[in-house]
Symmetry: C2
Subunit: 523 residues, 2 copies
């Protein structure tokens, strides 16, 4: 019996699948290996949680679903098909026991399914690419899995206004490639882009690598069509950038993790694709220097700044130790710098961009805020400079067990949280290392602690202590990963009782029987 | 008895106050003239609408409010103070009969007021700078006016992250000036900035002049504190760019026009202030050329593009005729070009920006898409190039009566709506002119028709025909002005019955007694 929302254990088997940050490139690969012994224990057994008063799936229900979805492969059952890929999350940390997966092809089918489930009190777990990291996309008990993977049509792209309209099951990478051919860019980029779906991205309010430049999905989304728990279709699929005709209903769906409705179609405002890109890797002596650099980058690089990431010496160390990635900026004595900063730019004129980046670097070197630096504009060299930053998570898994935290903090407190954690764990023999890295531009820290194996004593030192630190700084206990199943019961560290009560009221209003993604998001 | 949501009549007296577009620079000036004969008829008399079953303000209520708000000038009553400035909208088109204005100084006072009003079934009209154009900010009957003007403190500005936290009564211009001193920019700019308040901007989801560059307020807002109808304070005043801890409650408040809660504090993400600005005015032969220019500007100017506006020959003509503003781009024979485009850029490097703009202009001239053009980088010359675009609304008032429409349309249909209107009104002797101008970058058309005086026959030709055209194109019948009192009953042209029903459910959940800004927004 493990506590809810304890740090996530990343099995070493997942390591090779980790591409960028903590998110997967493919989901299929994971389950294609078919190693059932590698499956996590059932969530219902592992956590002290009671099943809701929903009906149990019967043959009669199944027959009805087969009538609703007559096309082949639309109704998968445990008897005929292995459902592990739909019941287990990508991290292999939670496992549901769903006996049926429904794959509708149209909004009407989604509506018919939900209407029936509502009438018969059947719980439903909507699922996109199943790449979430908080257990939000798989069933907890025997909820019916509503997979959106068949609703993957691109409806339209308006090249003049930069408007995309598509179905919710579209995979992010396919959309990004399609837009690139038209000179446009998806305002969202994620390591999981090869499998994650736009409906899931919206439902989890995915952050990702371009948030600093293009802002959150709340600003990029133009419209949505979604189906409420009772089957009612809400069509607010506007393609307009300005639309002040009443409450902005689509905003309710962004980040509500499938608990208020199931997204079926979406429209987005897409910016032009930059013609040139550049990356600079810089070495700094202190986090104060990192923050100074960020302020200068906001001024000097301004409109072309597209990412501002950092990692500390311990992060660089673990990547070197386990993956053999050495920094191009090692000191003369071969040691790591205390901090590395990765600055990415994207603009419409390569010469202008390079001039800006060069001027910025020269200014920073002359002020002594940067000890060393290197820059690349060719794609292969850009990739090389990203390598350590991208593979820290993967490297950490080789230490054994990883206590993972994804928090937002005011910039002035961002690295202090890492230092305070080191101090708190100082002298504890089980701790291998404490590393800090993340998105400075978004105030998003990834704090990771490793030990050879899971130790309750370390976990007890970290929680609730860390949540309390984040709460005291008015930070967020979940910056970009969401709440899902795993963080539901610690939401109170970032939300007041009044706010949680209003969340509950909204849930009860939009899903009075609570059939949509139960046990998730709302405490 | 006039129909609801009929085009707005702009009295000529307001003309001199119109600065940029259709929004005022000051509200105070309007009422300081104290010309009570210039007041519009009472809304309750003019429109067939029934007063809600709210209590009527009594001496006992007043005594209670005076105890709640003991500081001088916090409780204004009709007996002691002229309340016209709070009862009449800026356009002087609607007039309420409130007998009391409450001016709280703290969130606790707002909460105490609303708790009392809720317990005693007293209706409340929250009011910011009272610069709205749809009758949303003034009472319809005798609602208590809750003026936020005393809650005008700037709480903090984080220069590194670009985060502003302030009270809702802060005036936009003051905030913009304060941020400019710190090298930051408010992501919102409006003609009404001298009087409008940030709480009102958020409540109406104000669009304005920088939306093309910085996106909608749904993306720029980081957090909010608001008070629900029963006095409950919802504190989601996050300063974090990433915060995925449950439903994004603040988004409910954006654009809900004070009907779901009263905003008391806000936080915003503010971009760096551009170091250089440039404006180009271009003459085009067709709207197809205008759209081609826009596509090229999105590619070639890309990250420095900050506005892309257009106006037609008829718009230029009315500004020349009534205000003596002649175009710097008249043809050799002295006639107007069919279309003018105003492109504004803002970047971090003046030389780079100018090179981009020059290259863009040369390319456009060589393709024949632009017939003529001029460019400015000095503030005074930039202002001169904006002059006609900014003063079209003011010029139109000199024709007599203006039938005003603010709609969003797909770009391909944007100007077609103007041409179709001309065709529909062709030969009608009462029509002086039909003009089209607006924000191409946002798909936002301002369509205006003038006649010497109001004619029911013209109005009948325009409505509901125009709403039907907008609905058929899946446009928006209110792009940036909102719903308020005037457009409540035509919302069905842009929202489905299911969406309207969900709006009503949300309203009933968050304000079960309906005391917050009744008769507005929700049909």
């Amino acid at each position: 019996m493990r506590r809810l929302s304890r740090a996530i254990h990343l099995p070493a088997a997942s390591a090779k699948l980790l591409a960028r940050g903590t998110t997967p490139t493919t989901t299929t690969t994971l389950f294609a290996r078919g190693n059932s012994s590698g499956l996590p224990p059932q969530t219902a057994e592992r956590y002290a949680i009671a099943r809701g008063k929903f009906q149990v799936l019967s043959q009669q229900h199944l027959d009805h679903f087969r009538r609703l979805l007559p096309s082949s492969g639309s109704v998968l059952t445990a008897e005929e098909d292995g459902l592990d890929g739909y019941n287990v999350d990508w991290l292999k940390t939670v496992r549901g026991q769903s006996r049926v997966v429904l794959k509708p092809s149209t909004t009407e089918e989604v509506s018919a399914i939900l209407r029936y489930c509502s009438e018969h009190s059947l719980a439903v777990c909507p699922q996109g690419g199943n790449t979430g990291l908080v257990g939000g996309s798989v069933p907890v008990f025997d909820e019916i899995v509503l997979s959106m993977s068949r609703m993957d049509k691109i409806i339209s792209v308006d090249e003049i206004s930069g408007t995309l309209v598509c179905e919710a099951g579209c995979i992010l990478e396919r959309i990004s490639d399609h837009l690139a051919e038209k000179g446009l860019r998806m305002p969202l980029d994620l390591g999981a882009k090869g499998s994650c779906q736009l409906g899931g991205n919206i439902s989890t309010n995915a952050g990702g690598l371009r948030l600093l430049r293009y802002g959150s999905l709340h600003g990029s989304i133009l419209g949505a069509e979604f189906v409420m728990a009772d089957g009612t279709v809400i069509d607010v699929l506007s393609e307009m950038r300005k639309d002040n005709t009443g409450y902005d209903l689509k905003q309710l769906i962004v980040g509500s993790e499938g608990t208020l409705g199931v997204v079926t179609k979406l429209s987005f405002a897409c910016p032009p694709k930059p013609a040139s890109e550049a990356v600079a890797l810089l070495a700094c002596d202190s986090f104060e220097d990192v923050l100074c650099l960020f302020r200068e980058a906001r001024q000097g690089l301004a409109e072309i700044l597209s990412a501002f990431e950092f990692y500390d010496a311990a992060s660089a160390g673990v990547a070197r130790e386990h993956l053999g990635l050495s920094s191009p900026l090692l000191r003369d004595d071969g040691t790591e710098s205390p901090f590395y900063v990765l600055v990415e730019t994207g603009g419409s004129n390569a010469r202008h961009d390079e001039e800006k980046v060069h001027a910025f670097l020269e200014r920073m070197l002359s002020t002594g805020r940067v000890q060393n630096g290197t820059m690349a504009t060719e794609p292969s060299k850009i990739k090389a400079l990203w390598a350590t930053r991208e593979r820290i998570t993967e490297a950490l898994l080789h230490d054994g067990y990883v206590y993972k935290y994804d928090v937002s903090l005011p910039l002035r407190d961002l690295y202090g949280a890492v230092e305070a954690t080191r101090e708190r764990l100082a002298g504890h023999p089980g701790v291998t290392r404490v590393v800090g890295f993340g998105h400075v531009g978004d105030g998003n820290l990834h704090l990771n602690i490793t030990s050879p194996q899971y130790e309750e004593a370390i976990a007890d030192l970290l929680e609730p202590w860390l949540w309390e630190q984040v709460a005291a700084a008015r930070g967020s206990i979940s910056a970009e990963h969401g709440v899902g199943f795993k963080k539901r019961d610690v939401l109170g560290y970032s939300k007041s009782p009044e706010a949680l009560s209003l969340m509950r009221q909204l849930k009860d209003t939009m899903d009075p029987k609570g059939i949509l993604n139960p046990y998730k998001t709302v405490p």
